[in-house]
């Protein structure tokens, strides 16, 4: 938690929620107010992170090609990290202080830890049985009161696959997209933990998951209730924002979990991650955000961003996209594999996301495909920029870019050493550090987490 005080940034969140809670007393009695505000306890935030970094040794990776996550590339470079932080990044002339463990990076590549902005690990864990279906509170079209962290099962075996095969060190778990307002996300460190609090990324802001289009209208329209159309989607959203504005204006409102989340959005403390496929709907959402005075941080899936990439650049909204998923539903019919490259070309922000327990294991390959599809239509994007799509850009859209997402002195030592160019299919994560602690080593079968669920089962401890 000391990291927060050092870096500022999203730490303000805790204060705001505490203020909200304090403002929620209806009686006006100060003592009752305190008694009724568990969120404002000494810890400062409810369900607070208990994550602490694991021990590591001062480490120097020497001679590798470095993609720093911020668009920089250093050949034959040196990365130094110690005490959980990146200490220095430079070329071969960078002096290696005494006491550092040297790792030969010759022929290898270094990137920041991979970040997935859109995952359902833990809230739709494997085994994918009905008893594990905890991602959609599909009982009302607006459920901003639910928090994804209260669904996350830390024993989901998917976390370990994302680490070992994908080099994923940070991921955002979102509620599903059945609802217009699906609830709060949680950002996790990809470390095995007995509790979800032990995975929570200290100081990461919350996001509100919102969804456009087919899903909400299908789920609720199918039950004969609102919304059953896209215009119904907007009407319900706008009515709910009006409620939130009224709640925000109240001097001493009753506590209301749903409204607390929405006020957090209106005050800019909670980000918006908006599932939305079609260009025309994204444009309408941007107008709705203007109408009520909030910002969309990223459109997720966004298969038609290429049609309005100029508008997205003007609004400074990221598009979190797949490389080449298409056609599985009507609103994905105009998906094209050049989407990411065309967004980038217009100067708008690209994030490659997974939304999938398999895809999260290969975000580097997805980014490479999207880069190559751009190249074939004449859009050349540097390798180091492509790596930012799965590192710093994701961190930016999640509000954690001051803390991780690039290899810069003082940032968290979330580091992947790849045994070759991560934009090649023939490369694998060789070693993965989270906050400077070695959490995976391709050559050490013991340095590989196994979930409780897999103990005593066929294949326990197998490479996966």
């Amino acid at each position: 938690m000391s990291r927060l005080s050092m870096k500022g940034g999203p730490a303000a969140l805790a204060t705001t929620i505490a203020a909200l809670a304090l403002a929620s007393c209806t009686t006006g009695s100060g003592s009752q107010s305190l008694a009724r505000t568990p969120v404002a306890d000494a810890a400062g935030e409810p369900y607070a992170s208990t994550y602490e970094r694991f021990p590591g040794v001062p480490t120097a990776i020497v001679g590798a090609t470095i993609y720093d996550g911020a668009g920089g590339q250093i050949d034959n470079g040196v990365v130094l990290f110690a005490d959980g932080d990146v200490v220095a990044v430079g070329d071969a002339s960078l002096a290696i202080p005494e006491g550092y463990t040297r790792i030969d990076g010759t022929g290898r590549y270094v990137t920041p830890g991979i970040i997935d902005i859109h995952s359902h690990l833990g809230d739709y864990p494997t085994p994918s049985v009905a008893a594990h279906s905890d991602g959609n509170e599909a009982t009302s079209p607006t459920t901003p009161e639910v928090w994804a962290e209260h669904s996350v099962w830390p024993q989901d075996p998917g976390f370990s696959r994302a680490l070992a095969n994908g080099g994923v060190t940070t991921l955002q778990i979102l509620p599903g997209s059945a609802n217009l307002m699906g609830g709060r996300s949680v950002t996790l460190r990809n470390v095995p933990s007995r509790t979800v609090q032990g995975m929570k990324f200290p100081g990461a802001p919350y996001s509100l998951k919102m969804a456009c289009g087919e899903n909400p209208k299908r789920v609720y329209g199918g039950r004969g209730s609102m919304p059953s159309t896209r215009m119904g989607n907007f009407a319900v959203n706008r009515g709910t924002w009006i409620e939130a504005q009224a709640y925000m204006a109240e001097e001493d409102p009753d506590r209301d979990l749903a409204m607390e989340t929405l006020v957090g959005v209106l005050e800019g403390e909670i980000l918006v991650q908006n599932h939305c496929y079609r260009a025309d709907e994204m444009a309408l959402v941007l107008s709705m955000a203007d109408e009520f005075g909030y910002r969309v941080s990223a459109f997720h899936h966004a298969v038609e961003s290429y049609k309005i990439a100029d508008l997205l650049r003007e609004h400074d909204v990221c598009s979190a996209v797949w490389a080449d998923w298409y056609g599985f539903k009507m609103e994905a019919y105009d998906a094209i594999p050049e989407n990411a490259a065309m967004i980038h070309q217009q100067g708008a922000c690209v994030v490659i996301h997974s939304d999938d327990e398999n895809g999260i294991q290969r975000l580097n390959q997805e980014a490479a495909k999207a880069q190559a599809d751009g190249h074939r239509m004449g859009i050349d994007i540097a390798d180091a920029d492509v790596i930012s799509w799965i590192t710093l850009n994701a961190a930016h859209a999640m509000g954690i870019d001051e803390m991780t997402g690039s290899l810069e002195p003082g940032k968290m030592a979330d580091v992947v050493l790849w045994n070759g160019d991560p934009l090649s299919i023939y490369s694998r994560p060789q070693m993965v550090w989270i906050d400077g602690a070695l959490m995976y080593d391709m050559d050490d079968p013991d340095r590989r987490p196994v979930s409780d669920f897999e103990l005593g089962q066929p294949g326990e401890g197998d490479v996966k």
Binding site: N165, M342, Q361, M377, I425, M442, Q457, D462
Partner: protein, 452 residues
């Protein structure tokens, strides 16, 4: 807008099958698809729609149009197993989706061959990704018997189906248990009953269903069944369905069985003792590596998804990406096929195969060599489907060629030209047209809607 006239010819409608053509490519890196490693500076010759020769030191016969393959790779077209090509426009648009028939009174008799639509965009997308042949399968809707799949080529013509009724697909795992009435016990009883029924039915009636050997006898519909759709909750077969299983029991039609867990795989292999004529293929086989020796000894091939590594269900607890490699090492014939997510399209088969090569780096993992990996998406699945003359560049094989701008297993590579039976194919489709329309967002003169 200069593209408009060109497109008129390329896209408006599919033509009659073009005459087989001759083509040669020289100076390319050639992968034969037979499991061997790539050959540099090699030549491929196709005449009359068939491969004449491929390899080093091959002479191009006089008069054959020749392309310079420098800086390119040439391979056989990919063979995609168990696709929905031509059955679906948009998965979630039910009106456009003929994959399963869950309200139908029929099961084993369902036959995809007359309903495959080569104008479906997925045909064009997959072709542009280098897929030239595929098996197309129905999915089980109301019974463990999904119905009969077909083999197709992806040429831009209406002559897609090259072999109707190539196989019957049945579900014998968790899904089969649910479809059969709630338990694997019911699926097993149903399967054995059906095979016995079909066996005696075939003997008594002297009937033959459509089969791979071409002798396709029409089986009359039982008049008592006409107009009857009252089959919900009934797991037994109509006479029509029983007739469709006759060639399965006799081994004339392949039987694809989807099972995942090791115990279910062994149970299916033991079915061969009861019904020795069955021409069985295992589909899925996520835990196949645990009983790879038995699968190999039974001589049963497998079609598996390469990258499954999560315990998605209790029948896939031992899932690992090493499944394919371990089965291949045990001597099992394994084709990579099957699609777990919306990202696993047929044209992404090279990504699945390429990951098998990279897997060899990981201590304790078993991957594939490059040659094995490429064969697992070309010649091996073609052979499993019953086509020995596809997915391979060997004299006499179909002249299905893909020219790639790099190593076909590398994620950054893509086809630049595709030939089927020696006929060059259009690589245009809905996606490429959208890309060109939105290449620029300039609307200072006219809306983008006029750009086509």
């Amino acid at each position: 807008m200069s593209a408009r006239l060109l497109l008129g010819a390329a896209l408006v409608a599919l033509a009659a099958p073009a005459a087989a053509q001759d083509v040669a490519i020289t100076g390319a890196t050639v992968a034969l698809g037979d499991g061997s490693e790539p050959i540099e500076n090699a030549t491929v010759v196709v005449q009359g729609g068939r491969v004449v020769a491929a390899g080093s030191g091959v002479a191009v016969p006089a008069g054959v149009p020749t392309l310079d393959g420098s800086d390119m790779w040439v391979t056989p077209g990919l063979f995609a197993s168990l696709t929905s090509l031509g059955l679906v426009d948009v998965d979630a648009v039910s009106e456009s989706n003929d994959l399963d028939a869950d309200d139908s009174p029929f099961s084993a008799a369902l036959d995809v061959s007359p309903v495959i639509n080569p104008n479906a965009q997925d045909f064009a997308y997959s072709r542009a990704g280098g897929v030239t042949r595929a098996s197309v399968t129905p999915e089980a809707g109301a019974s463990i018997f999904a119905g009969q799949g077909a083999l197709v080529d992806l040429g831009a013509d209406y002559d897609a189906v090259v072999q109707p009724r190539a196989f019957q697909l049945i579900e014998m795992g968790e899904r089969g248990a649910r479809l059969a009435g709630g338990s694997r016990t019911s699926a097993h009883a149903l399967l054995r009953n059906a095979l016995h029924e079909a066996g005696s039915f075939g003997e008594a009636a002297q009937l033959r269903g459509g089969s791979s050997s071409g002798g396709s006898t029409v089986v009359g519909v039982d008049s008592r069944r006409i107009g009857s759709t009252d089959r919900s909750g009934d797991v037994l077969l109509t006479r029509f369905d029983a007739a469709a299983l006759v060639p399965v029991v006799s081994g004339e039609q392949k039987l694809y069985i989807r099972v995942e867990r090791a115990a279910d795989i062994l149970a299916m292999l033991s079915l061969l003792e009861e019904f020795p004529e069955l021409d069985m293929v295992l589909v899925g086989a996520t835990e196949g590596w645990m009983v790879a020796g038995q699968i190999a000894a039974a001589g049963v091939p497998v079609i598996a998804v390469a990258l499954r590594d999560l315990p998605v269900s209790f029948e896939q607890l031992a899932a690992t990406q090493s499944n394919v490699g371990r089965m291949v090492d045990a001597g099992v014939m394994v084709g990579i096929g099957g699609y777990d997510s919306s990202g696993d399209h047929p044209r992404n088969l090279p990504q699945q195969a390429g990951n098998m090569v990279a897997l060899n780096w990981v201590t304790g993992a078993t991957g594939l060599s490059w040659g094995e990996a490429f064969a697992s998406i070309t010649s091996v699945p073609a052979r499993i489907a019953g086509m020995d003359d596809a997915g391979v560049l060997a004299a006499g094989a179909h002249g299905d060629l893909v020219l790639w701008d790099g190593d076909p297993l590398e994620v950054s590579s893509a086809p630049v030209r595709v030939f089927i039976e020696g006929v060059e194919q259009s690589l245009e489709n809905h996606q490429t047209r959208l890309r060109e329309r939105y290449r620029s967002l300039d609307e200072s003169e006219l809306p983008r809607g006029y750009e086509w």
